[in-house]
Structure formats: structure tokens, C-alpha cells
């Protein structure tokens, strides 16, 4: 017969009102006691698990003990445990489902000697909670009461020990009933299980972590992260030097552990810190995300940690932590976020199996961002299953201090995982590049040029501009198939015997009025984005490919710089800037120009301008053109030599061109090779940029947009110096001049790749060139270190760079200022310009990253379909260019790939090379020296890899679901890879440069001839999408010179 009792609960409703709830509570005379000592087993209805009879006592843990020490109670050695229902409910309500389920499983586990006693439903054990009694006290009282009942129920035959953490309870109940002992849990373990070492250790560690948690909760009240400090406190702290402001930079390869605060602004000058501040662990990072501007507090010196130098793989974090870290560096923790830099993130939903492991509550899903540096984001969605195979954009909403992960929401789907379009879209979103087509409103302001309604030079403009159509031979040199020609050249002899060199740049500002729709759009885009297989224009194609493009045989507006040079010394006598009208006579491509320069006239067949001429006039025209190109080259050499004397650097970058076949599959990866003509064109452009920079700075000393390249920190060169020393060269890095000279000398005639690598290392050590406003820094900081010029800007590519548009406006304003005319252009003030420069620099970086990532994507796709075991292309020659504790970094000249190769694999085996120099994995150890790394097997064989050794590597692709695929290198032999046929001979570095150039052009042309049909189809596609094939090589060279080189090795945990 049940007894009915009533329990009154007072609950708080969602609206904050107190709700009185009356619940029934039924008590019964007997509940199963699960004890073999039970006097009336029939009444108790003991079915199922019984306690064993061979125990000396029963243990009844208090609710607190069950909550905190459940892991110890799980030990199979502990027997005769009776969990009271009261304690179980306390776990359920206060510790959540996970721990409660653990307890339930424990009770179900037949091997574990524990039972649950439903004391609250037993009429003698149930005690109603008294008025004013705290929940905790009532629970302890109930459990004790039940323990006493249980003891009597077993007819006092088995002593019962109640273990509790409540001192008061021990005092109060300790000796109340004979046979029922109340002691603390620690005491219990000590006296009954002194030999159970594991339990003691676990107990200690639980105690300690609880104490820590309590300490922390005094500050943070049980939160996952400490609260951020208020903004006023942060600002005051930064001013006083207590906190340090900087940008948080997460180490991609140890995203969980390592992040750095890159110092920024005034605080770096005040404090004597040189290096970045290490932020170790997620807790210290305190909810800041990569890119946030944070305020950090330094930890005391004895808590400083070192960074890890081993090659880390993202999937074996813990292994990397086992490596001995380098010497300690300033370590700190984030106390507040000054500016959040949250953007859209591309994420991947967990696959089906992973979802299940995330538990029942499937509405909240942890998604993995594509970028390793971003923590997982918690998303509420019902569509998780449908979105599994897609790359998805999410946005972070908040990150509460009580939450381990940030909360976000789903925004849109980008595309399928591993699908080219989806992956490209991912790259774009990750770099915050928006490539929506130009809108109607933007396009309707554009001039038209159709066969019915052709664009014409207007008479007013004709009056105002200098007309060069009749007087000058203007031509352009660009890559094949280029549509956006923004620079043309001219050279002629003046009547006084002097030379006149002209650089004519497309007059984009004529069409793009300041603050027009197109202007604002171009400003947001800031640059044209070139990906490996496509490009996204800054300006609509009507401008970029037509009206602004200085095509052959049509009248175009231009902004020109013309120098009068001395005929022999090429000294600049006079310079003229202004708006002009030009008609380009020849639209040459680099290869043809180079042939003409080398005196090989067979290429004229390829130049359309010569086709319709008769033999005689063709000869005359050809002579004129060849003279011009020759003269230009001569001038360029001269200017270059002058710049070299000041210490201009030539740095090496490896660019890879992706060759596609007709199905748009990647056919081959070809490193791009420079020609001398490239240099000529580049030199003329540098000259123009330099003079324009001078001009606008003179006219507007406080609001001119220039480009600076600060001299690098000497300490960054240490690696370069050491590497060079390994080969017996010494690199003098004191100035750009000495660096350039010593780099030229550091040439190993047997292996030119050494020089290339040294140059690229030098590049890496340098900082990036940046746009800036002249009003924002002192004149001595204007210098361009790499080009060795005191002033430099970008003027020559207004079609694809917004900075050039700004410079054009500045130049035109300067011209009107000279003529004492009023300045029509409303120029940016210093402040605005600074802001704009920051934006453009930012976008340029995004453009570079996206280009690099897309190239890597294509590299991976190229190697993905190939079986690395059988396909010959996947085996290549590599050069070791850096040594790490567990591997080496390898450069593959054939494909321009840089990457890490491990000498020690995940199982701890090291590489060893047999007599046939084939490598295999053996147990052993690695020893790292300054310039070499030795792998010794337990059998005693050893193999040593020196810096700049040639090895044979196998290239494979490591697929990853949530992130981009990565190239994986594996050393398969310590001997250089023997090239089996001459087809690949163009990579043979022993050839002289000009020979090499011919070799390349020939082999490339051969290859192109072979697939002419295919190429045509591709060209059609390019036509359709208005894309030029590849990017101009001039642009490449210029970028290299601007030291904006990218390097994969940056990312290998350096």
C-alpha cells in the first residue's frame, strides 16, 4: 500500500514569477535493497544485481562525494557501494547528463559491486525537507537516515560507512548510531584502501583541481574564461605600460596552444620588448580570435614558456608538446579585446559518425573552421545532416565567458567539399574578397563602345591633351593574350640629338570620377585579384579590357611621363608629365620582343601588325621597332646599373603556372621563367614610378601616396647567414648594397638553386613593402630598401590597382598646380589617405594570400589524381633548405613547392638509407646540428642530411575534410633524383641564363604546339569569362622586386 505525501516546490518561471508547484510523492513500505543479507527478500523483491556477500562493510557515499569522486568510486576494487537515490539525483541536477549517465552505466555494470537504493520512495527512509533547511543539509540528512535504516534492515549484521565531505555531518552523526560510521572520503581511503595507489593519486589530483577551480571561481565564479576588463581600464593600462596592445596571431600549426601578440603602436617603443608575446593555451588567450586587437598582460618571468621548433602536424598536437621547447620568451595572457576582427568564416560540419559522438542534443553542433587558427564554433541548426558535404559560411555571434566555444549562426552554403568552385569560393571568403558582378547602377555610368556606337576621342579632350599619335612610335609589351594593357612605351631621338623616353599609362581617372559608383566599388576592391586560373577585375571589363586598355591601332587617352635623356650618358635632362592621346602601333608579347631583341626576325609572322604590309615598308617599320626595343633595353640596363650601385636587390621568387587541358583538368605545373625583356619593361616602369613619386611628393608633401619598404631587422638574417656559412659563403647584411653584392657572390656554380634559395631566404627576412601617406612619417622612412630608391610609388597599373588611381589624381593635381590652375580633383587629406593605405595594404595581402592558396589548391589537385607510388611525376628532386628537430624543409625546383619532410614518423621510427640509397623507416633517433641532421638507427646505420643537399622526394597529397589539402613530401632517397629524359631538361640549372631562356621558350612552345587545339578551346573559355591567361610577367617581376614574396615555409611552425 502506497502512502501519499505532498512535496511543495517553488519554481521560478521564465517570466520571473515564483510558481508554487505541488507534487505528489508516494512512499512504499519496501523498495529493493539488493543486499544478500536482506531478511525478507520476497518483500523487497530483490531481482537483478545484488551486492556481494564477501565484503567487510557497505559504503554509502554522500551526494558531494558522488559528485566529485565518482571516478574513484568507479574503481572495481571498491566493493559494496550503495548509492542513495538522493545522491544520484543531486548528480543529475547539478552535474548534468554526462556524469549522470556515467553513474547510470556504473550501476548497470554487472562487474562493479554497487547498487542504487531508492531511499526517497521508502516510507521509513524518506524525510521531508524542513522549512528553512538548505538543500545540501537535507540531502546529507536523508542519506544518513537511509544509511541507518539500511543498517537495521540488514539486522545490524554489516557495518555501514557513510563517507561525506561535510565536516559538520561527521561531527553530528559520527557516533550517533552504533555500526553506522560517518567519516571523510580521504580518511576512508587511507584506512580501508591504503594499498590502492591509483585511487589515492586520483583523489589527490581531483582535490587539487577542485581547489584550483575554487580559487578561480572566486574570481570568475565558475566561468570557463576570466571576464574581460572594461575598456577604460584597458586604455589606462596601456597608457601606463601595464598592458600591451597588439594583434593576436595564432600559430597555424599549434592553434590550440600557441598564439602571439604582435606588438603594435606606441607600446612597443615604451617597453623594452623586442619580440612578440607568447600566449600559451586557450585560457590565456581568453576568447580572442586570430586578428583581434587585444590587450595583454605579461606573466612573471618564471612562468615564461618557450616556443616549439619541431615540425608539428595538426593532427598530433600532443607529440609536439613532448619536444623540448626553445628558450623562454615573454609570455602573457589576454586581459581584454580592444577590437574584434570577426569576419565570415568558412566551416565544415562534422561527418555523420562525428555527429553521433557529439551526443543526443544534436541541434547544437560544433563546426570546424577551414582556417586552423579559428576555434571551433557552436552552431544551432537542424540542417546539420544536409550540410555535411558542403563548405558553409558562418558568422560568430558571441563568446560568453561561460562557454568553451563561441556561438555562431549559419549564413550560406558555398559549394561542395573538394569541388573546384567550392574551394575557390572558400578561398575568396576566407580572404574577405567579394566578387559580385558590377551592378546596373555602376555600369550605366560607363561609356559605351559597340560597333554601332563606337567610342571616339572627344574634340575638347583633343584640344587639352598633347597629341602623340603622329609623332611617337608607341608600343606595348605584355604577356600573350593580355587584355588589360595599362602601360606602353616610346623612345625617339629628338632634334637636338637627345633621346626621349616615354612611359604612357592608361588614363583611368578620366573615366572614373572621384566618388562615383565605380570609384567607390574600385576602392573597396582595391586591386584586381589573380587566382591561379582566373581573375576578378577591379574595374568593369568595358574599362579594363577596352577603353582603358592601350590596345594596338586605336586612339586612347593616356597619362604620360617623358624624359629627355642625354644621348650617350642617358642622364635625365628634363621631364614632362601630362595627359596625352596615343595610338599604340604594336601590341607585342614578351617572347616576340625578346626574339626581336636577339635579332631573330622569324617571329614577325606572329605579330599581326606586320601582316598586311608589303615587304618594303615592313622592313622599314621592323627596323624602327627593333631600334626602339634595343634602345629601350640599353637605357633600362643603364638605369638598372645605376640603381644596382645604390644597392638594389634582386630577389628570387618561384611562380608556378598551371597548365590546364581541355577538360579544365590540371595538366602540368610549370615554373615561370623570366626573360630580359621583362626586366627592360620593369625597369622603365620603376623609373616612371620613381619620378612620379618625386613629383607628387614635391607638390603635396603631406598627402602623397608613396610606397615604402622599411629596412629589415638584422636579427632576422641570422638564419640566412648560417645557411650561407654552411656552403662557405658569407652574407653581409649590413645594408642593402652589401646584401645585394654578397648575394651575387654566393653563387655555387654547380648548383644555382643554392643562390635562389638564399635569395628567397633573404626575402623572407624582410618586411613587406607598404603604401603610406607622406604626412604620416618622416622623410627618411620613405626609402624603398629593395629597389634602393628614396621615393617610390605605384603609378603604372591603374587598371588593376586602386593605389595607382589615387597617384594619377595626385599627379594631375600637381600638374594643374604647376600651371597655377585650380585643383579640380578633391584630394584625400593625410588622415583619409592613411586610412585608405591601410585598406589597400590589407586588400593586397588578401590578394596575395588568395593567389597563394589557389596555387596550392591547384598543386594539390594536380597531385591528387596521381598515385604517388607509381606515377613518375610525383617523384622529384628536392633541396634541403632548413633543418628542424624532427625533419627538414625541402624546396622542389621542378614545381616550385616548398614543404616539410619528416625524418621521424608518427610511430617514432626514423629514416635510414640502405646501400642503394633507398630510404626506409627504422627504429632509431635523430640528432640535430647547426647545418645537418643525422638519423641513426638502432642497428647503427646512420644517414646525414646537410643543408642544400639534393634528395629525391615523393610528393603526395594529404587530404583533409575540414581544411585545405596539403602537399606531403617524403624523402625516398638521399641521392639527387636522376632526370630520366631530356624533356625536363629546362630545369637543368647549369645552363646559362640566356640559353636557358631559349630552352624554356622552345620547350614551352613545343608543348604548346603539341596541344594547340586544346589551347584554343581554353582561350575561348577565357574569352567567354573575359579573363586573360595568367597574369602579366611584368607584374610578377615587379611584385618580386617589391618584396611581397610569399613563402610556404612561413607556415611550417617557424
Amino acid at each position: 500500500m502506497l502512502q501519499k505525501r505532498e512535496k511543495v516546490l517553488l519554481l521560478r518561471t521564465f517570466h520571473g514569477r515564483t510558481l508554487r508547484i505541488v507534487r505528489e510523492h508516494y512512499l512504499r513500505p519496501s523498495v529493493p535493497c539488493h543486499s544478500p543479507l536482506c531478511p525478507q527478500p520476497a518483500a523487497c523483491r530483490n531481482d537483478g544485481k545484488l551486492l556481494t556477500s564477501d565484503v567487510t562493510h557497505y559504503v554509502i557515499p554522500d551526494w558531494k562525494v558522488v559528485q566529485d569522486y565518482l571516478e574513484i568510486l568507479e574503481f572495481p576494487e571498491l566493493k559494496g557501494i550503495i548509492f542513495m537515490q538522493t545522491a544520484c539525483q543531486a548528480v543529475q541536477h547539478q552535474r548534468g547528463r554526462r556524469q549522470y549517465n556515467k553513474l547510470r552505466n556504473l550501476l548497470k555494470d554487472a562487474r562493479h559491486d554497487s547498487i542504487l537504493f531508492a531511499n526517497e520512495f521508502q516510507q521509513h527512509c524518506y524525510l521531508p525537507r524542513e522549512r528553512g533547511e538548505s538543500m545540501e543539509k537535507w540531502q546529507t540528512r536523508s542519506i544518513y537516515n537511509a544509511a541507518v535504516w539500511y543498517y537495521h534492515h540488514c539486522q545490524d549484521r554489516m557495518p555501514v560507512i557513510m563517507v561525506t565531505e561535510d565536516e559538520e555531518a561527521i561531527q553530528q552523526y559520527g557516533s550517533e548510531t552504533e555500526g553506522v560510521f560517518v567519516i571523510s572520503f580521504k580518511n576512508y581511503l587511507d584506512s580501508f584502501w591504503p594499498d590502492l595507489k591509483a585511487a589515492h593519486e586520483l583523489c589527490d589530483s581531483i582535490l587539487q583541481s577542485r581547489r584550483e577551480r575554487e580559487n578561480e571561481s572566486q574570481e570568475s565564479r565558475g566561468k570557463e574564461y576570466p571576464e574581460h576588463l572594461p575598456l577604460e581600464v584597458l586604455e589606462a593600462g596601456i597608457k601606463s605600460g601595464r598592458y600591451i596592445q597588439g594583434i593576436l596571431n595564432v600559430n597555424k600549426h599549434r592553434a590550440q596552444m600557441e598564439a602571439f601578440v604582435r606588438l603594435q603602436g606606441a607600446s612597443s617603443k615604451d617597453s623594452d620588448l623586442v619580440s612578440d608575446i607568447l600566449i600559451h593555451g586557450m585560457k590565456a588567450r581568453n576568447r580572442s580570435i586570430h586578428g583581434d586587437v587585444v590587450a595583454a598582460e605579461l606573466l612573471p618571468k618564471d612562468e615564461w614558456k618557450g616556443r616549439t621548433t619541431a615540425l608539428g602536424e595538426s593532427d598530433n598536437e600532443d607529440k609536439a608538446s613532448g619536444e623540448s621547447p626553445s628558450e623562454p620568451m615573454p609570455t602573457g595572457r589576454v586581459v581584454g579585446i580592444l577590437q574584434k576582427n570577426w569576419r565570415d568564416y568558412v566551416v565544415t560540419f562534422p561527418s555523420k559518425e562525428e555527429v553521433q559522438s557529439q551526443g543526443k542534443n544534436a541541434q547544437k553542433i560544433l563546426v570546424t573552421p577551414w582556417d586552423y587558427r579559428i576555434p571551433k564554433i557552436r552552431i544551432s541548426t537542424q540542417q546539420a545532416e544536409a550540410l555535411q558535404d558542403f563548405r558553409v559560411v558562418v558568422r560568430i555571434d558571441s563568446w560568453e565567458s561561460t562557454s568553451v566555444y563561441p556561438n555562431g549562426h549559419f549564413v550560406r552554403v558555398l559549394g561542395k567539399i573538394r569541388d573546384l568552385e567550392g574551394e575557390i569560393a572558400t578561398i575568396l571568403v576566407e580572404n574577405s574578397i567579394s566578387v559580385v558582378p558590377f551592378s546596373e547602377a555602376q555600369m550605366c555610368k560607363m561609356p559605351v563602345n559597340t560597333p554601332e556606337n563606337p567610342w571616339k576621342v572627344s574634340p575638347e579632350e583633343e584640344r587639352e591633351r598633347k597629341d602623340l599619335r603622329k609623332t611617337h612610335l608607341v608600343f606595348s609589351i605584355d604577356p600573350k593574350g593580355c587584355e588589360d594593357v595599362d602601360d606602353t612605351l616610346s623612345v625617339r631621338t629628338l632634334n637636338n640629338g637627345n633621346l626621349e623616353l616615354g612611359v604612357h599609362i592608361a588614363d583611368v581617372t578620366h573615366f572614373v570620377a572621384p566618388n562615383s559608383y565605380i570609384d567607390t566599388e574600385a576602392r573597396t576592391r582595391a586591386t584586381t585579384y589573380y587566382l591561379a586560373d582566373r581573375r576578378y577585375d577591379m574595374l568593369p571589363s568595358i574599362l579594363s579590357a577596352d577603353l582603358c586598355s592601350l590596345l594596338g591601332g586605336v586612339d586612347r587617352y593616356a597619362v604620360s611621363v617623358m624624359w629627355e635623356l642625354d644621348a650617350t650618358s642617358y642622364e635625365v635632362k628634363k621631364v614632362w608629365y601630362g595627359r596625352t592621346i596615343i595610338r599604340s602601333t604594336y601590341k607585342l608579347f614578351y617572347e616576340a620582343a625578346q626574339e626581336l631583341l636577339d635579332g631573330n626576325f622569324s617571329v614577325i609572322e606572329d605579330i599581326p601588325e606586320f601582316k598586311d604590309l608589303d615587304e618594303k615598308s615592313r622592313q622599314a617599320k621592323l627596323e624602327e621597332l627593333v631600334w626602339a626595343i634595343g634602345k629601350l633595353t640599353d637605357i633600362a640596363r643603364h638605369v638598372r646599373a645605376k640603381r644596382d650601385r645604390c644597392g638594389a636587390l634582386e630577389l628570387e621568387g618561384v611562380e608556378v603556372r598551371v597548365q590546364l587541358d581541355e577538360q579544365k583538368n590540371i595538366h602540368d605545373l610549370i615554373p615561370k621563367e623570366p626573360l630580359e625583356v621583362h626586366e627592360t619593361v620593369a625597369e622603365c616602369m620603376i623609373l616612371a614610378n620613381h619620378w612620379v613619386a618625386k613629383k607628387i611628393w614635391e607638390s603635396f608633401p603631406h598627402q602623397a601616396l608613396l610606397r615604402q619598404h622599411p629596412p629589415p631587422h638584422q636579427e632576422f638574417f641570422s638564419e640566412l647567414r648560417e645557411c650561407a656559412k654552411a656552403k662557405g659563403f658569407s652574407i653581409d647584411t649590413r645594408s642593402n648594397k652589401t646584401l645585394a653584392e654578397s648575394l651575387d657572390k654566393a653563387n655555387d656554380p654547380s648548383d644555382p638553386i643554392v643562390n635562389r634559395l638564399l635569395r628567397s631566404m633573404a626575402t623572407q627576412a624582410m618586411s613587406n613593402a607598404l603604401y603610406f601617406s607622406t604626412g604620416s612619417c618622416a622623410e627618411e622612412e620613405f626609402r624603398h630598401y629593395g629597389l634602393a630608391l628614396d621615393k617610390y610609388t605605384h603609378f603604372t597599373s591603374p587598371i588593376r590597382r586602386y593605389s595607382d588611381i589615387v597617384v594619377h589624381r595626385l599627379l594631375l593635381a600637381a600638374i594643374s598646380k604647376d600651371k597655377k590652375m585650380e585643383i579640380k580633383e578633391n584630394l584625400f587629406s593625410n588622415k583619409e589617405l592613411e586610412e585608405l593605405c591601410r585598406h589597400i595594404n590589407n586588400r593586397n595581402r588578401a590578394a596575395q594570400h588568395s593567389q597563394k592558396q589557389s596555387t596550392e589548391l591547384f598543386q594539390c589537385m594536380y597531385f591528387k589524381d596521381r598515385d604517388p607510388e607509381t606515377e613518375e611525376r610525383c617523384i622529384s628532386d628536392g633541396v634541403i633548405y632548413s633543418i628542424r628537430t624532427n625533419g627538414v624543409l625541402v624546396f622542389i625546383p621542378r614545381f616550385g613547392i616548398k614543404g616539410a619532410a619528416y625524418l621521424k614518423n608518427k610511430d617514432g621510427l626514423v629514416i635510414s638509407c640502405g646501400p642503394d640509397s633507398r630510404s626506409e623507416w627504422q627504429p632509431g633517433s635523430l640528432q640535430r646540428f647547426q647545418n645537418k641532421i643525422t638519423s641513426t638507427t638502432t642497428r647503427g646505420d646512420s644517414v646525414t642530411f646537410h643543408l642544400f643537399d639534393h634528395v629525391t622526394v615523393r610528393i603526395s597529397v594529404q587530404a583533409s575534410r575540414c581544411h585545405s589539402d596539403t602537399i606531403r613530401l617524403e624523402i625516398i632517397s638521399n641521392k639527387p633524383y636522376m632526370i630520366p629524359n631530356t624533356e625536363l631538361s629546362h630545369q637543368n640549372p647549369l645552363l646559362l641564363k640566356s640559353e636557358l631562356v631559349k630552352e624554356v621558350t622552345k620547350s614551352v612552345e613545343e608543348a604548346q604546339l603539341a596541344q594547340e587545339v586544346k589551347v584554343e578551346t581554353i582561350q575561348e573559355e577565357y574569352q567567354e569569362y573575359c579573363q586573360t591567361k595568367g597574369r602579366s610577367l611584368y607584374l610578377l617581376l615587379e611584385e618580386i622586386k617589391d618584396l611581397a614574396l610569399l613563402d610556404v615555409s612561413n607556415d611550417y611552425g617557424v
Binding site: L2, K4, E6, T13, R17, L19, R20, I21, V22, R23, E24, H25, Y26, L27, R28, P32, Q92, H93, Q94, G96, R97, Y100, R104, L107, K108, L116, A118, E120, F121
Partner: protein
Amino acid sequence: MAGLELLSDQGYRVDGRRAGELRKIQARMGVFAQADGSAYIEQGNTKALAVVYGPHEIRGSRARALPDRALVNCQYSSATFSTGERKRRPHGDRKSCEMGLQLRQTFEAAILTQLHPRSQIDIYVQVLQADGGTYAACVNAATLAVMDAGIPMRDFVCACSAGFVDGTALADLSHVEEAAGGPQLALALLPASGQIALLEMDARLHEDHLEPVLEAAARAARDVHTLLDRVVRQHVREASVLLGD
């Protein structure tokens, strides 16, 4: 806090009952002298009062009169203080109309209406406290009241609810169990013949599970019958003592 566990691994429900156990039922007949019949019932914390008038002549429009049987008119209402939150429940809202209709269907099946053509029987039920299973309490109270009024019936109408949690059928759901949102079945049974006067189910339940749930509800209804039968006999005994037989 984790969600409430409706049925523990040991087989206990939130309030300490086992799956098939009913809540405590207490009932009294003849609580009001002025009505023809009345009864009060407590099922756990659900409390209902039923009053019966009739059979009498049709009130209001005579057109409603049925030529061959009596008209059963049921009205349901619940007190403003019946739930945890005080809430005004006006007459004729959707819920009470529906409940009234259900009661009417139930009792048209049980009362021998053909014995009283062109007359009317009024059943008024009021819920004083609602803690789950209001329909069942109403039917049980009304049965007693109809009997108290001396209106001939085929049999007792005994009602009980049942639910389904974790593969087990639970009899006589309390408010907590109802609020958890699982399937809920209300059954009104004529226990002697085993005929079903009304069966209602909201929420979805797999066909395979219907049988055990129905079975649990029917068993609970029979248990209710035992109890009600005891109450009726007790009442009759008391009444006969008063009459001095």
C-alpha cells in the same frame, strides 16, 4: 539541469509510483443535497466535482428534444485556481467546449437514454485542481454523480489516461508526465463488457506500441472500477443506514 527522468532505471516514476500504479483515489457521493445527484473525486492532486440534474423536461427551445431518447447536456469548467498559475478561464472557451462534448459522447454511450424520451439530463463538472488526467477525473466523478441521481446506466464508466515513456506504458499520468510531451491516451471503459465508450489520443505513437498502452489504460480503468464500486457500495450502505432499513 538535465531534463526530468520520467522513468528511472529502477522502474520508478517521478512521484515514486511504478509504471502501472494509479495515484491515490478518494471519492464521495452525494455532496450536495439540492442537486439530483453529485459526487467529488480526488485522483492524486486532481480534484473534480460533478453535479447531475434530471432527467427533466427540455429547458429552452423545445426543438432540441429528441423523440426517442433523452438529451445529455454536459458542461465542463475549471476553477481559476486549479493550476499553478492563476488564470481566468471563461465559460465556453475552446477547451471546455471540447471537454463538454467528449463527456457528452461518453455518457450518451453509458446512460440508458431511451428510457427517458423528450427529456434532458444535465451533467455539470468542475475541476477544482488540475494535476493531470482531468478528463479521467471528470468522467469518474460524473459516473458517481449520475449514479447518485439514480439514472439508469448500462455500467460504470471508468476512465483513465496512459502514456508511453522509454518503451514502457505508464498508467494515470500526472501533470509532470503530461507536460513532458509524450503521447497520451485517454480511455473511458465500460468495465463489465469491456466496451470502450471513448478513446482519445494526442501526439503520435507507433502502431506497435498502441496495444500495450491501451492495455495499460484498460487495466488502470478496471482498477478505477474496483475503487468506484467500493465507494458506491459504501455510499449505499450509509444511505440505507440513514433510511433506517
